[in-house]
């Protein structure tokens, strides 16, 4: 039962414990530090200062950049959904030749991003890119700057941010009740109708969740506009970065960040409302794995194949190029003249020649693994409580947990340093500044909103009947959570853990203020080896580190997906079909005891 009564909520000891821990955590690590920082920023002399707002409104450049960020976010919310749903359908839903190879190509965005990704595309399509050069050899009239501005940023960011679709929409798709699809087909529904009336509606909670993420990514876009935006399309994020580093301008940084954050929260609230108004549950209660659909119209079939492979090439090219470039002299890269003599192992020699090169990798792997496990475990409980008990308290807590989305990482990190530099009663009189703990705390904090959103969406697609059945059979709440609910959301939880791990590996923004001098994380090590006025191999060394990171991240993804995928192929079921099947097996007994007849997801009229 979705429960909105207070008493019901407080009756369960598990819920009470979760809430107490949560309130303590939110108050100590989210509200106290950030509120202190923001109050000192906006109330410099104890009175509210309108300075930041006045400055902002009178600056044409700031308003333009702000507008660009919003335009980008809105565009991406559409384009990423189109491309993302398309790649999920061609890899997991339709029968497409070589879909596993396609999946690998699309999955490349899982293992790299940021400046390297933007640079990769720039090396191909930019002013000195080789495609631009090749085309210009045939048509010399073409503008060499064709790939820049709004268009280029949208294209690159669209391709770069389909990651969430691949992972989360893919796993939701695998859980669709295949019998409904078969039934619809038997009733004569066309491929398109089935897709539109059954498949997509069943995916809605997850589509909402990833749309919020996409919107947020668009608002915070930093490197792609810097590299590809040109003077016409700069976004607000670089300005926030500059301002948050200067104590006098910190109010402006905070104001800008809050504007972006509020926009995200408004979108979130809207999505929450839509989510609440519909009934979505789509988990197959019987182990009939989804079977891939053949596209019956031959013309459409050919077109989809062509589009899928064109996308594949676009996705795979920059990665190949980055691997290639890591073996090139840096002058060859930057001047764009690649000859056989330019190939070298020197970049790798430089990286591995650095003393103690391995230590930052170990430090970052440990931090990232701990943080991503802690945050997922914690949020499993929290998302569950939020989803089951909807009342003003849980709503408030939920919004407070999104603070890390509102404020830039730099401000959060600074606030932590300044709050915990003295014994604090809330954490038992400990001092955290200068210890190894503070960075872990920060990593956990900044990953909370992402984890919470997706886990909530995952829980939303779990039918209540399963839980009821478990309760009728006498299972306690913790036992139900562990044996019935967690296995159902496990694929999503595993994917979140892997993504969090990957994104924390090369973090710089939080670590720069928080890391313990004796435990330097990877992001700092990379920066140290690529910075310096005389370091002309910076880009090549970045590529080497990117290749090394790709190996670690690829291994993580293999741990999460590779083995499941391999075993599922043996059984000729789609990816994560194994997970769904296992979930079906676990819940099999519960399903047998279920009193209600098997319900079919109802597409909203």
């Amino acid at each position: 039962m979705r429960n909105s009564s207070w008493r019901g909520m407080l009756r369960s000891p598990l819920v009470v414990i979760v809430l107490v821990v949560l309130v303590w955590f939110v108050a100590t690590f989210l509200v106290l530090p950030n509120a202190t920082l923001l109050i000192s920023t906006f109330f410099p002399d104890g009175r509210f200062s309108f300075r930041a707002l006045e400055k902002l409104v009178s600056s044409e450049r700031a308003l333009n950049s702000l507008w660009h960020s919003f335009a980008l976010a809105a565009t991406l919310a559409v384009t990423v959904n189109v491309v993302g749903i398309f790649i999920v359908l061609v890899t997991d839903y339709f029968k497409i030749r070589g879909s596993r190879v396609l999946w690998l190509g699309y999955a490349t965005t899982l293992i790299y991003g940021g400046i390297v990704l933007a640079a990769g595309y720039n090396f191909i399509y930019g002013k000195y890119g080789f495609i631009t050069n090749a085309v210009r050899n045939v048509f010399p009239d073409i503008d060499p700057n064709w790939f820049s501005g709004y268009f280029a940023v949208v294209v690159v960011m669209t391709l770069a941010t389909t990651t969430n679709h691949m992972l989360f929409l893919g796993s939701s798709l695998a859980k669709i009740d295949y019998q409904t699809i078969e039934a619809a087909r038997n009733m004569g529904a066309s491929t398109l109708t089935i897709l539109w009336r059954i498949v997509l509606p069943a995916l809605r909670p997850m589509i909402f969740a990833v749309t919020v993420l996409t919107f947020l990514t668009g608002l915070g876009a930093l490197t792609a506009p810097l590299v590809l935006g040109g003077t016409d399309f700069q976004t607000i994020a670089p300005m926030i970065l500059t301002f948050s580093k200067s104590s006098g301008s910190r109010d402006l940084a905070a104001l800008l960040a809050i504007i972006l954050g509020l926009a995200t929260i408004v979108l979130l609230a809207m999505m929450n409302r839509v989510e609440k108004s519909g009934v979505y549950f789509s988990v197959a209660k019987v182990a009939t794995p989804l079977q891939k659909q053949r596209i019956r119209n031959p013309l459409a079939n050919v077109l989809v194949h062509v589009a899928a492979y064109v996308l594949f090439v676009i996705y795979a090219l920059p990665v190949l190029l980055i691997v290639l470039f890591s073996f090139l002299e840096s002058t060859a890269i930057s001047t764009g003249t690649i000859t056989w003599d330019a190939f070298t192992l020197a970049n790798y020699a430089t990286v591995f020649g650095t003393p103690a090169v391995l230590k930052p990798f170990v430090v970052s792997v440990v931090y990232s693994a701990l943080a991503s496990l802690i945050v997922v475990l914690g949020m499993l409980f929290v998302a569950r409580v939020f989803q089951k008990h909807r009342n003003p308290v849980t709503s408030l807590l939920e919004y407070l947990l999104h603070i890390p989305w509102i404020l830039p990482t730099i401000l959060i990190a600074l606030a932590l340093v300044m709050t915990f530099d003295r014994p604090n009663p809330l954490i038992g009189g400990q001092v955290l500044t200068g210890t190894t703990m503070l960075l872990l705390v920060a990593y956990v904090i900044i990953k909370i909103p992402f984890t919470l959103r997706l886990l909530k969406a995952a829980f939303a697609s779990v039918p209540e009947s399963l839980e009821d059945a478990a309760r009728i059979l006498g299972a306690g709440p913790l036992f139900t959570l562990r044996t019935v609910l967690v296995p159902l959301v496990l694929p999503t939880a595993a994917a979140i853990t892997a993504l969090n791990f990957n994104s924390l590996l090369d973090d710089y923004d939080a670590a720069v203020f928080l890391y313990h001098p004796l435990y330097e994380p990877l992001g700092l090590a990379i920066r140290a080896s690529t910075e310096g006025e005389n370091n002309l191999d910076a880009m090549s060394i970045t590529f080497v580190y990117t290749v090394l990171l790709m190996i670690i991240m690829g291994f993580t993804m293999w741990l999460v997906y590779g083995r499941g995928r391999a075993s599922s192929t043996r059984r000729r079921t789609p990816r994560l079909g194994a997970g769904a099947a296992a979930a079906g097996a676990v819940t099999g007994s519960a399903a047998a005891a279920e009193v209600a007849p098997v319900r079919v997801p109802v597409p909203p009229a």
């Binding site: 933007a118 300005m239 104590s247 001047t335 001092v431 200068g434 210890t435 700092l524 296992a582």
Partner: protein, 355 residues
Amino acid sequence: MNKRIRFTAIMATALLGTGALASCATADAGSGGDDAGGTLIVYTNSNGDGRGEWVTAQAKEAGIDIEIVGLGGADLANRIVAEKNNPVGDVVFGLNNMFFETLKEEDAVTAYEPAWAGEVDQESGDPEDGVFWPLVEQAIVTVYDTNTIPAADAPTEVADLWEDAAYDGRYEVNTALGQATPQLVLAGLLAPYLDDDGDLGVSDKGWEQVEEYFAHGSPAEEGTDLYARMTRGDVDFGVLPSSGITARDAEYGTKTGVISPADGVPYVTEQIAVIAGTPRETAAEEFIDWFGSAETQGAFAAEFASYPVNEKARAEALPEVVELIESLPKQDIDYSLTRENIGAWVEKTELEYLP
């Protein structure tokens, strides 16, 4: 693996890991606490190009155990200020005067007179209170490649770049105003136009200069070196700290020319100081005495093409470096005034004038 076992295993790993980290946190808390022994934590922004490793190795030979924490200038200054109630670092070096003025203002660094105080010109440091002391000097110069632009054809004043239409879009402007070098360029642009009645202490004429400078320049490209852009003909001019020239000429085959305006170019002096409140003050002072000495600075200059402030160490500096620095007059910039205003100047420029 059985789902339940896996779940329990993950849970156990996380708990154990947290415990391990927590215990090593308490064990290490000493390095930020009252432990007078142990490794000396040296904060610097001057660790790139292998300098960090070099300093660590040389210090070890001299019997001082150090750990380098290398961060960008603005990040480093922010970190030191944020940590001032419970300092983690013991010594800081490499930041320029402006950053050190900020640290001094925040009481984050403390006074100490090094053994080599008599060998440096105290005017380049902190003549009033002797809180921070100068190590090396750099000029911020506008460069070009004499292979493409003969020295005779180059402009003699930096302002020609934006006043003469021939150079429109042919010079690189760095828009990352959070960094030290672009801030110094801005300070250099505004220095001749200081005016108490003007906006933020600068006359309208001065702000016009800034506007024109950015309007006619070509914004720096993230991830692309100035010299790469010069070699492929994107731009002809750009700004660089003088110590970067030698390595680039070798790498790109360029022959760098430098615009030497009559009023001079901005100079920065990298400084060193003890971080206030460190429990390892004696060790920190020992490090300063060793690092700033004529011997160490001389070896550093020979290794990294720097121009030491220590007069005795200058003999070891590379002749081309000495020649270049001595040919460039110093622009008259009031650094303490600049320090007070640079935040506001950067903000105004960022909001109104950047392309």
